[in-house]
């Protein structure tokens, strides 16, 4: 069974569109994250949720809105997509104070 899963794996869309990426973890962890990996492979934290509550919100455009319907899911919605949003987005989860487990990533391409 996949511990942290993301859908879709690939997402190609036009500028200005709105899209969502879904993340689910079946590890029973209470904290989930979204990271962005840019074209130079640099990974940076975007958001963190603990038990559906936002606890980390880095300097990210407000076009990005995370939503956590329950502690096993953390979705990322992006409005008015821009070329610079093209990246790989990784979801991760962790138990309290523990190791972060990453999903396979979603490669977003904005044309």
């Amino acid at each position: 069974d996949t511990a942290v899963s993301q859908t879709p794996k690939y997402l190609v869309t036009q500028m200005g569109n709105d899209k969502s990426i879904k993340c689910e973890q079946n590890l029973g962890h209470d904290t989930m994250y979204w990271y962005k990996q840019d074209s130079k492979k640099f990974l940076k934290i975007m958001f963190s949720y603990n038990n559906k509550e936002l606890i980390i919100n880095e300097t990210v455009p407000n076009r990005f809105s995370p939503k956590s319907p329950d502690k096993a899911h953390l979705n990322l919605h992006i409005n008015s997509l821009e070329l610079g949003d093209s990246a790989v987005y990784f979801c991760a989860s962790t138990p309290q104070g523990g190791t972060q487990y990453f999903g396979p990533g979603t490669r977003l391409t904005v044309l």
């Binding site: 130079k40 492979k41 972060q100 990453f102």
Partner: protein, 114 residues
Amino acid sequence: AQSVTQPDIHITVSEGASLELRCNYSYGATPYLFWYVQSPGQGLQLLLKYFSGDTLVQGIKGFEAEFKRSQSSFNLRKPSVHWSDAAEYFCAVAWGTGRRALTFGSGTRLQVQP
């Protein structure tokens, strides 16, 4: 701001040779230290981690890393590299306790020559 530095962007080694990838982090509260590996087009796989205790930690695939507090370093080593080890390696640090996000280094790309 707290930061993680991987000074080597790209390393090439011959198969069977030893490997050391460097990682330094800025001073802060108790660091939790990790090494992840990313194969092309793949996600991040945890190689090993250090939270406390013995400063030499063993990981998967024959990797080990040593935490040196005095040097703020957490270098990754492998005695004999295999062609399948070619990948991107990321050092990551979480400072303090609790549900801290990871700060990643910029990565080191490892190429393995036959």
